[in-house]
């Protein structure tokens, strides 16, 4: 008995030892020899995005052998990453590059910590102009849009076919379709997470805007209408709030028809769905697809680091924004290719052959909207607006009350009265 356990253990260890070399180890070896090492701090904890970034770094380092080496270093999730950057900024141990949301960029700019990228990006004219605009501050470019996901419409094709419903193109069709199927199934089929992202879809497509004459307004009439639509949907039985876990983790608990969710979840949706999962551009006003909220980070270069590292960082920016690298990155991760020419590359064409639905993500990228890029936005989106939405959806306050309260909190926060 004991012997067999030992044999098992030895076999197990031997097989582990035979492992193929990991990208992380390859990069370590590459950097050990290099004279200049530029670090890229990122928030990809694991999975395909991290693997893809590391594989791209390996390729970049091969091309720059003898000159330098780029080393991606994971710093936990995005919130951990920004904590660490703040600490590193105070301690003077900043890396050459990092991932940053637009609101992070606004914050780092308050400390004048970023290198302007004007005139330094080789592929600038090929990049999605909506994404590029979001990283322009006072007319200067401070980031390269990198891993961008966009909201899309997910739907259960089997269920739509069963009820003879077409994929909706407009908001009205969407609500009508959800109502029709929900009535037939006897339960709500539009599933949503009561958070700022879902809300943003309804808000922006009802003509909402967060900024009015430079002032942040979260209780505009459009805002109240958007939230009322969701709350009404719950009361009328066509919308179901999902309060625990991701939507795809709840498949199987009742009839799923639609959700408006980030394209970053596509691979997880696919893994969880046994039904024919379809994706489409968001229902809009009829003339063109609806606007989808863009999320995801940009790559930034810090100002006060060794110029040799900065040079290497800029070379990496040009490498990852090339059509080929973007094609590979998009195919691997499901992020929107930020280079519009990526779709012509054989790698992405090949991927589209196996996953024709991915074209939806590329198309939706042209109808993208952003949340305000102010330093306090992260706190507002999660702790103030997010809370208000949850309260309204769960019936603890009317949409108007909840949003008015949120507006007051936003004003207090921006005036420095609360933290």
């Amino acid at each position: 008995m004991k012997k067999s356990v030992w044999i098992l253990a030895v076999v197990a260890l031997a097989s582990f030892a035979l492992a193929q070399q990991k990208a992380e180890d390859v990069i370590k070896a590459q950097c050990a020899k290099a004279q200049v090492v530029a670090e890229l701090w990122h928030g990809f904890r694991g999975g395909a995005p991290r693997a893809a970034l590391e594989n791209l770094a390996v390729e970049f380092n091969k091309m720059h052998e003898g000159e330098g080496c780029l080393r991606p270093i994971n710093q936990g999730g995005y919130r951990d990453l920004s904590t660490k950057i703040k600490a590193a900024f105070a301690a003077g141990t900043l890396p050459a590059m990092a991932q940053a949301f637009e609101n992070n960029i606004a914050l780092y700019l308050e400390a004048d910590a970023l290198l302007p990228l004007d005139g330094k990006l080789e592929y600038l004219d090929q990049l999605n102009p909506l994404f590029v605009n979001a990283v322009k501050f006072d007319g200067h470019l401070y980031g390269l849009p990198f891993n961008k996901s966009v909201q899309i419409l997910y739907f259960n094709r089997d269920l739509l076919n069963k009820h003879g419903v077409e994929v909706p193109r407009t908001l009205d069709d969407f609500i009508a379709a959800a109502k029709k199927i929900s009535a037939a199934e006897g339960e709500p089929v539009y599933w949503f997470r009561p958070d700022t992202s879902t809300y943003a879809y309804w808000f922006f497509n009802m003509g909402g805007s967060y900024l009015h004459d430079g002032k942040l307004v979260v209780n505009s009439p459009e805002a109240v209408k958007a939230l009322e639509t969701l709350v009404q949907g719950v009361q009328d039985g066509w919308a179901k709030p999902i309060t625990s876990g991701y939507i795809n983790q709840n498949f199987g608990k009742g009839a799923y028809g639609f959700s408006t969710d980030s394209s970053a979840g596509y691979s997880y949706y696919l893994k969880a769905a046994k039904f024919d999962l379809g994706i489409a551009t968001l229902p809009g006003n009829g003339e063109h697809p609806g606007y989808g909220l863009v999320q995801g980070t940009n790559l930034i270069v810090f100002k006060d680091v060794d110029p040799a590292q900065q040079e290497l960082a800029l070379a990496f920016l040009n490498f990852v924004s090339s059509p080929k690298a973007q094609a590979l990155f998009a195919a691997a991760t499901g992020y929107v290719p930020v280079n519009l020419k990526a779709v012509d590359e054989p790698e992405l064409q090949d991927y589209l052959l196996d996953n024709p639905d991915f074209q939806v993500v590329i198309d939706q990228g042209n109808y993208a909207v952003f949340e305000p890029a102010i330093a306090e936005w992260e706190q507002i989106r999660f702790d103030i607006l997010g809370q208000a939405i949850k309260e309204a959806v769960l019936g603890k306050a009317t949409p108007k009350e909840a949003l008015d309260k949120a507006q007051k909190q936003v004003e207090d926060l921006l005036a420095g009265k609360i933290r």
Partner: protein, 409 residues
Amino acid sequence: MSTRRKRGSLPGRLLIYLVLTAGAVVMAFPFYWMLATSVKSPQEAQQVAPIWLPQRIHPSNWATAARLGAEGGGRWWGGFQPGRTVRLHIEVEDPAAGVPRVRVPKPPAVFSDPRSESTTIEVVPTEDGWTIELTNEGDQTFTKLPLVVWMPKEASRFRAELPPDAVRSQRNYWRLEWENVSPGVFGYVFHNYREAWHAAPFGRYFYVSFVTAGLQVAGGLLIATMAAFAFARIRFPGRETLFLLFVATMMIPGEVLLIPNYILLAKLHWLDTFYALIVPWLASVFGIFLLRQFFLSLPHDLFDAARIDGASYWGMLWRIAFPLAVPGLVTYGIFAFLGAYNALLWPLIVTQSPEMRTIQVGLQAFIGEAGSDYGQLMAASTMAILPIVIGYFFAQRQFIQGIARSGIK
């Protein structure tokens, strides 16, 4: 014996055992769920209807896994060696529906992939379906052979020899995915364990975690014992005020100190070293408080007697207080060890090279931004918990007493 009589009648005892068994089942359930999930495919792990017995622990699949593994490499751990051909048979009800499309998927964002490029694929018709023949024409050995097959829906029912890890509906096709069609028995059952082990350098993580936790416990015990003894048994001016100040620091949440501590460590050039992981945690106010209360509960007479015999404070500490306080020390030691072993934020912030990261940071690799790979996460969690479980069996008595004594968890 008298105690036996007191336990009461048979039905009463049965009831007690029933209740205890039910309690044990409830407590053990999450552990079972972790183990079961650790051998699930991603699709199984995400189903809402619970899957009690994952495909990978059905013995009927093991024989197929062994055969396919032997074709590609070895019976136990599979693989895909040069010149070998792996044959996977899929029965279908209506073969006239069309030939399935077959592909070996590539890893994410690689410029070239030797595995899919050197594998030739042939789909051979048989009496009741199709045999997919995959041949390694290159000169490299691969540990896994993933596969994707698109089966026309008109083919109606189908049954693959080795159950696919995921079945999805994609327009007119069923899309079948295997993470490895040449797994071997162990490679099949322990797929998630192997993947998790390779996803991060867990050997090194274990080493760092154990060194960090071990030294924190040893150093922490030494400092806490001395400080606690001073607070409990040595009279000096301002003792109470100083102690109050110490205890007051427990009110400050650790997150507040994160950035100042980080800056301090950066100035000392300690970032990304064992010093950063260990030194800031050596002096524990909780430990000092706990041990001080313990020392206070020891009878005064012992120390008076020692003093009459001419013992110094030092002698009193190590010869009298220390041996009598072993239960308290064990309690603190267990808390310190678990705290160090489970710490996440601090190690994440003060380290950055893979060589200095701890096991808990390693577990983060399986949590994605829009979902998690639960199978691998649970496999890695099982590996991370294993040392604690083994340690628990060795020190069961102290564990239970230690937790019971402090009254908190």
